[in-house]
Every structure is written in structure tokens, then in C-alpha cells.
Symmetry: C2
Subunit: 492 residues, 2 copies
């Protein structure tokens, strides 16, 4: 894995300075085109042997790049706001938008690699962590990101020499990185761990590139040229067509029975009963949310359902007596242009609640596998990969202590028609029924299939779907509240 | 001040429930129109006597409003990320975009009021703080925000009764707010302090509205109706024309001498000298930034100047040996739609550095009084008020420990022409000279006047402008670095 990277290259300053101006012109031109076309985001990740001068490398790269379109992110201890959210949140918030370069130092590889070297995690944990990273990078790549991961390498003797030399001049002393891996003492462990990590996480869409770092000129030229070539190759490809779907599975429904038709939509609740139960569960919900244990957890409530199924009304009953400082109801109109320049999950990541808080989603990331699928707003490959991306997303939340509760509010066609007509007569402008609403109704069967697939693919033990019979609003609201209370009880 | 608010209103539940449906329809319709037109942001601020149930009020309001377009912000202790930035940063990051409602509990009035009641600040500090708030609200109003500030009031006896009653039921126990003001014990002090605060900060564009809070039904109806009327009145006004300028001052330049023409643009530095001095100041800069004291400060560098004056080159020399993890170079293209929905300073607030970090601005908030003024991108009233808004903004930064250094890089017309022509021949696409660049040149005199006004109006002792003779790039770059080092030295 390090065969080429252990070959030292003896490039002298003169050669370097001869080559630099052309390289610089080429890189600035490529960057300019990237900024103009906003074709894709570029993610450069740097890791490496201690003493390789990762920061030094960047400082040099910076003088070549147009720094106004580059953001370097180093990750020390998570801040309070970061540590109260899923671990990947801090990386998501720093993702470069299309057209820009994001440079990550260590980033998501820091923890697993350090833990491995210092034997602080089990092999199983370590493998699991790398698997998670691989899935994250694969998602980024599918969303169009160009990802290059550099491992700055040194031979054992070279490292010893470098570590000594660093820290002498006042000008570079800040560059001497702290040495959590024990410097050259643990050279062999670091090398083996890095090799293993690179083997497990090197993919065609997010490759590791090992670079010999002993000679700063060869190091600089190698990295810059590699980045330049990759960007130019991607730019030359232009906007590609979506990847073909390898396994376009559509399981037939043989007898019309599916998770939705299996629901008993005739379930009713009388008004008196409703009032009593509603008050009871609202009280219990408040009691549960005020428990001390909840301060280290958070609650994520997802509401999906047919048009006019009563999502809004259900949400209103959930929040009715909740402390308004502790929750936020999120709804998503067309993405803003900042959101459009990012992976589709980005706008949901930015709304994740802090510990002790509640986030309600009136429609959610499931739009990808529902409306975007049915209306062809994304390619088939895009929505097909979304299932596992969403599962990963929700697993991240659960791992960070979030309690994820998801509802599908189901009504039948007749009930929807009645509600549409009733709405056309109310005085609430926001309930305006548009032609689009009527049009969506015509795709009822396609939506049904999308819902069934969604439930099958994304109902997990940590984030299960609850299907709610919603022809009767009283029944639906109480079931929603009761389910939330139940989940909270078993989780706290 | 509390005459009306001390009159109790005896509205019973039946009356309330009779009126609510119509009120709700009206409010939802108004909110719907607001969301559709994105006409303006609405800021509702709540403060009040202890025991008035601010949160209770909101909980009720919430069931009437469309919660998906409302964000409630309560402000406890600042988070780490907040406390490392100017005090107003946490409020800026929560500002509602146009079309949305932001509900603030206490917010910027909390600290001065509490300090006043508990005698923790001097009268002078207190007045200064209120003055600052007034300027902030005035800026928001000029940017189009509808601001309503509610003071929930209680008579002395009423308060005693309320405080006792609260906290009994499990359902409302969380609503019992902690009592930093000492409950009814300090009733009179609170009342006097509130009166004084309201008198000093009540304005036509951000009025205080005192509401008797003893009866929850009258409280709810009063607040909701007030909000509804205000929103409808503003919606009815439509998009107004800009306010007229009361004092359109233009000081004549009698003999062609101004701060720019007074510069000696013939200043030169030889290459050898340049190299030596550059290295010297770059070293010193790194030394200064690595001082322990800087970890509690931050550095804000603003670069403005004529087109082709060499801002980019100067910035590159400043960052050349700086730790890339600690700085960010900001450049501003057209505002994103999230930025367009906010006051014009918002996109700069979001880029303010944390403690220990450096933010470089390649063009900045001064665009308002330069290009936007000259090209008529904003009204005269807008750029005229910008001077004091910018001064306030920079004062906020300084108060929070930021060292603000601002450069105007000046070249003359001939030098600019020569550089334009040279650029047309280089291989860097990003240096492309467009027709627009040539067109801007024709407005040289207008830009000159704008620059002179800007320097006069915004050069302050804490954030002074440094005019840099930039016909000679070597001289300019060294002067920039030297100035930064000088400011850091005197500040650390």
C-alpha cells in the first residue's frame, strides 16, 4: 500500500519554482471554472504520519489556490453545540457547497485511527466505524462530490529526522502537531493501522492516495497535480447522466393486500373519549419530556401522510401544551439555493435538535422516496439509494440519543375527496386546494406503492414507522400521542 | 405607563371561545399572505412580570398560529460558540427571514433589566446598553421588520396570587419560571425598572405594549388581536417607497484635495527590501497570533480598494504562513436567497470569527456605501443610515474582543488602466477583465466621493481605516502587514 509512497523523490527548489507558475495558472483556471459552473463540491481530506506537516502542506496549497473558495476545517474537541448532536453533524455543517473546495484535516478518520493505534476500541467497533464512514463517503460521491483522501507518508528514518527538525524556527513552531500517536516510537503500529484503514475505506469514488512527504517540493507538486487532474477530469465529463440501476426491484402485490390496505380505516373514537384521552396523553408527554433523563436525549417526530390526512392537526395536538422554547416545527418548501448546493439530506441535518429539544417534521427527508420518486424529480438511482442513506441518517440520530418516531397518516380516497371539498369551503387561505392537489390524487396507486416500499425499507427497530388509521381524526391524534409517549417511556 | 395595563379585564371562557375561531381564521389568513408575499419579517418580543406566564401565552398563541412558520427563541446561558462572538450574534442567528415570525422571550432586554433590578450595573452602563438596543431595533425596522414588544403586566396582588397558583398541576409545573427578580418581594423595583426601560426604548417603529395578564382570555385576545392588526396594517401598506432623506448632506471638495488625493502614490519599495520586510512581518504576525492572549481575541481584516488595486495579492501575503485552520478568507458574490431574506448585515454577522481565529474579508459590508451607493442598488436613505449601522456592528465586534483592521488600497487611474491591460493578457481566467470593469472606471469620481465619505464616517478609534498607497505593490503589501502587526501589538 505504501510501496510508491516510500520512494523518496529528490525535487529541488529550482525545479519546483520552474513548475509552479504553470501549475498555479492551471489550478486557478480549473477553480475558476468550478466556481462559475458550480459543477460539484470538492472534498480533500488529509491525514498522515506524524511530522509530515499536514498543515504545512495546506499552507503551501493555499498560496496556489484561490483562498476565497476554500474552507479548511480542522476538528478539535467538539463544541457544546456539536457534542449535543450526532457525531457527523460537525462535518455536515462544514460541507463545501458546489463549486467550492473543502479541506478536511483528519476529520472522520481521526477517531477510529487513533483508537486503533492506541488499542482503545475493539476490532468490531473499529470495523463498524469504518463501514459507517464508507457509507457516508459513498453518499457524498453519489451526490456528486469529488473526494480525494491523501495519506502523507514517511519512511521510519525520515520521520525521526523530521520530528526533530520541526519546532525549531519561530516561524514554524506552531506547525509541530501534538503527538497523540507517540511519534516515531509507534511507527510500525501507525503504518499497519493506516494500511488497514486505507484498505477498508479506499473506494473508486473516494480513493486514498499515499504521498511521500519527505521532500516538500515533490510532496507539493504531487498533491497539487493530483488534485488538478481529478478536477479537470471531472469537469471534462460534464453533467453526467444518472447511473443505471443495477437491481431495479419491484415486488408485485399479488392480491391488493399491502401494509396500507391491511389497515382498518374504520377505527373510530367518540368525542368524549377523545377529549379525555387527549388530555391524558398530553399530560403524560409533558411529564416525560420534563424528566431529567430527557435532558441528555432528544425527540425527532416525523409526520408523513396522504394530502389532507390531518398531519397539521395532529402536530398541533402534540405541541399544544409543550414548552414552546423546547420544540420547533419544521416544514420544507422548495430548497433555498444554499440547500440546493448541498446533498439532499443537508437541509435536514441542519435542523436536528439539540439535547433536551424536540424537532417536529411536517413532511421530511422521506420526500425523496415519495413525491420525488413518483413525480420523477430525481432519478431512479437517486431514490433507490436514499433508503439506505436515510437509514444511516436515522441510525446516526439514534446513536446520539435521539428518539425517532415516524408516522404515516393514512386515509382512503373517498375520505380525501370529502376533505378536499370541505377545505374548498373554509375561510383558511392556507388550506387552499390547488389543481396540483387534485392532480396528485390521480397518482394514488403510485404513491401507495412508494409508501409500501418506504415502510418496508426504512422501518427499523430504532426508528420504526407507525401507520396511523386517520379516517377518524380523533383516533389518529390519540394514536399519535400514545405512540410518542410509549416510545419515550421505553427509551427513558 | 401601566395605567391601562393595570385595569383587569374579565373575559370569560365562553366569550373567548366565541371569538377565537374568527380570530384564528384571520390570523392564519394574514400569516398565509405573509408567507406567500415574503413581505417582511415579524419580531414579537415578550417580557413581563414574574408569574405572568410568558411561556403560557406563547403556548396559546401557538395553537392559533401556523407553527411551521414561527420560531420561538429563548436564551439561556450563551453556548460556547455564542460566547466567543459579539453579544448580539445569538440574536442575529435567530432572526426570522421575511415572511416568518420570530418570537423572542426576554432576549436582549433580559440582561439590562435584570442588572438594573438587582443593581448589578451602573446607570451609565444601563443607559448605554439600552441605547445600543434602540439602535439595533431601529436598524431592524429600517430593514423592514415589524417589531412588537409586549410587557405582560400584573398588579401587585394579582402577582402574589398567580405565583402561588403556578406550579401546582403537573401539566403546568414546567411553566413556573425561575425567579431571578425575587418574585413579588421586589414588585415595586421591577415595575419602576420596567417603566424606565420601556420609556427609553419605546419607539414608533418598535413600540412597547403593556398588557394586563391576570385574565388569560383577555391576555390572549389582546395580544393576538394586536399582532393581527399590526400585520394587516403593514400588509395593506404594500411595498412602500423608501423613506425620504432628512439631511442629504454632500460636503463639497473645494480644491480637489481629499483623503485619497492627499496620498503619495509614488511611494516605492525595492524588491530586495520588500522580500526582507515581508518575511520579517510575516514572522512577526505568526508570533503575535500564537500568543496566548490572542486565544481570547479575534482578528477581522477588511480589504477594500479600487478594482485591480491588489487586494488579492495583499491577502495572499498575509495568509501565506498563517495556520490555515485558524483563518478564513471571505468573499461575497450575489447574496443567496437565505441572505436576501435578512437585513443586509446578516451575511457578514454569520461569518464573524470565533475567538483565536482570523476572518479576512475580500470586500465586505462596505459594499453598501460603495458599489450599492454609486450604482443605485439601494436607496439613498439606506446607504446613509448604513454608516452608523456599520459603526455599531464594528463596535459590537471590538467590544467582544475582535481587533478590526480595515484597508483601502488606492491606485490612480493610469495605474488601473495599465493593470487592466496587463490582466487581459494573462492566462488566469479569474482575472478576466469584463466590460463591467471598464464601465466602473467611468464612475471614478463618484467612487472617490463615496470612499471619502466612507472613511470620514466610519473611521473610528477602535476600527480605523488605513489608506494604502498601492501603485507599488511591494509598498502596499508591506504596509498592510506592518499595520496588522502594529494593531495586534498594541491590542495584545
Amino acid at each position: 500500500m505504501f510501496e510508491s509512497a516510500e520512494i523518496a523523490h529528490d525535487i529541488d527548489k529550482t525545479t519546483f519554482e520552474e513548475q509552479l507558475p504553470q501549475l498555479r495558472t492551471d489550478i486557478l483556471n480549473a477553480q475558476f471554472e468550478l466556481i462559475e459552473t458550480k459543477a460539484f463540491p470538492t472534498i480533500l481530506l488529509f491525514s498522515g504520519m506524524e511530522g509530515t506537516g499536514v498543515v504545512d502542506t495546506l499552507t503551501n496549497a493555499y498560496t496556489v489556490l484561490d483562498a476565497r473558495h476554500v474552507v479548511v476545517s480542522a476538528f478539535d474537541k467538539p463544541t457544546e453545540e456539536e457534542s449535543e448532536r450526532p457525531r457527523m453533524w460537525r462535518y455536515w455543517r462544514m460541507l463545501p457547497p458546489r463549486g467550492e473546495l473543502g479541506i478536511y484535516i483528519g476529520a472522520w478518520y481521526n477517531a477510529p485511527l487513533t483508537n486503533r493505534i492506541l488499542n482503545k476500541s475493539s476490532i468490531a467497533e473499529y470495523k463498524q466505524e469504518l463501514e459507517r464512514i464508507k457509507r457516508f463517503e459513498s453518499m457524498l460521491a453519489s451526490e456528486g462530490a469529488l473526494i480525494l483522501k491523501f495519506w502523507l507518508h514517511l519512511g521510519k528514518g525520515e520521520q525521526k529526522k523530521r520530528l526533530k527538525k520541526l519546532g525549531r524556527s519561530a516561524r514554524t513552531s506552531w506547525r509541530v502537531e501534538e503527538s497523540p500517536w507517540g511519534g516515531s516510537k509507534r511507527y510500525q503500529e501507525v503504518k499497519l493501522a493506516a494500511e488497514d484503514m486505507m484498505r477498508r475505506t479506499g473506494t473508486d469514488h473516494a480513493p486514498w492516495i499515499a504521498v511521500n512527504a519527505a521532500n516538500r517540493y515533490s510532496r507539493g507538486l504531487t498533491i497539487l497535480t493530483t488534485v488538478l487532474n481529478a478536477i479537470n477530469a471531472r469537469l471534462a465529463r460534464g453533467s453526467e447522466t444518472a447511473a443505471p440501476v443495477t437491481a431495479p426491484v419491484n415486488v408485485p402485490i399479488l392480491d391488493g393486500r399491502n401494509v396500507l390496505t391491511a389497515l382498518d380505516l374504520s377505527l373510530q373514537l367518540e368525542k368524549e373519549d377523545y377529549k379525555k384521552q387527549l388530555a391524558r396523553y398530553q399530560d403524560r408527554l409533558n411529564e416525560l419530556l420534563s424528566r431529567k433523563k430527557f435532558r441528555k436525549r432528544s425527540l425527532v417526530l416525523v409526520f408523513e401522510g396522504n394530502d389532507a390526512a390531518g398531519k397539521g392537526g395532529a402536530i398541533r395536538r402534540v405541541i399544544q401544551f409543550m414548552d414552546p422554547r423546547r420544540y420547533r416545527v419544521n416544514q420544507f418548501a422548495a430548497p433555498t439555493d444554499e440547500e440546493k448546493a448541498q446533498p439532499y439530506l443537508w437541509r435536514f441535518w441542519r435542523r436536528l435538535p439539540r439535547q433536551g429539544d424536540v424537532a417536529l417534521f411536517d413532511r421530511s427527508w422521506y420526500g425523496r422516496v415519495l413525491v420525488e420518486r413518483v413525480e420523477n424529480f430525481c432519478s431512479e438511482a437517486d431514490w433507490r439509494r436514499a433508503y439506505s442513506e436515510i437509514n444511516d441518517f436515522e441510525a446516526e440520530m439514534s446513536d446520539a440519543g435521539a428518539i425517532v418516531v415516524k408516522f404515516w397518516l393514512a386515509i382512503d380516497r373517498d375520505e380525501q375527496e370529502a376533505r378536499f371539498k370541505a377545505r374548498e369551503e373554509t375561510g383558511y387561505k392556507r388550506y387552499k386546494i390547488t389543481d396540483e392537489d387534485w392532480r396528485n390524487r390521480e397518482k394514488w396507486d403510485e404513491y401507495t406503492m412508494a409508501v409500501c416500499d418506504m415502510v418496508d425499507q426504512t422501518s427499523t427497530s430504532t426508528a420504526p414507522w407507525t401507520l396511523v388509521e386517520a379516517n377518524n381524526k380523533y383516533h389518529a391524534r390519540v394514536k399519535v400521542l400514545k405512540t410518542i409517549c410509549g416510545r419515550l417511556e421505553e427509551s427513558l
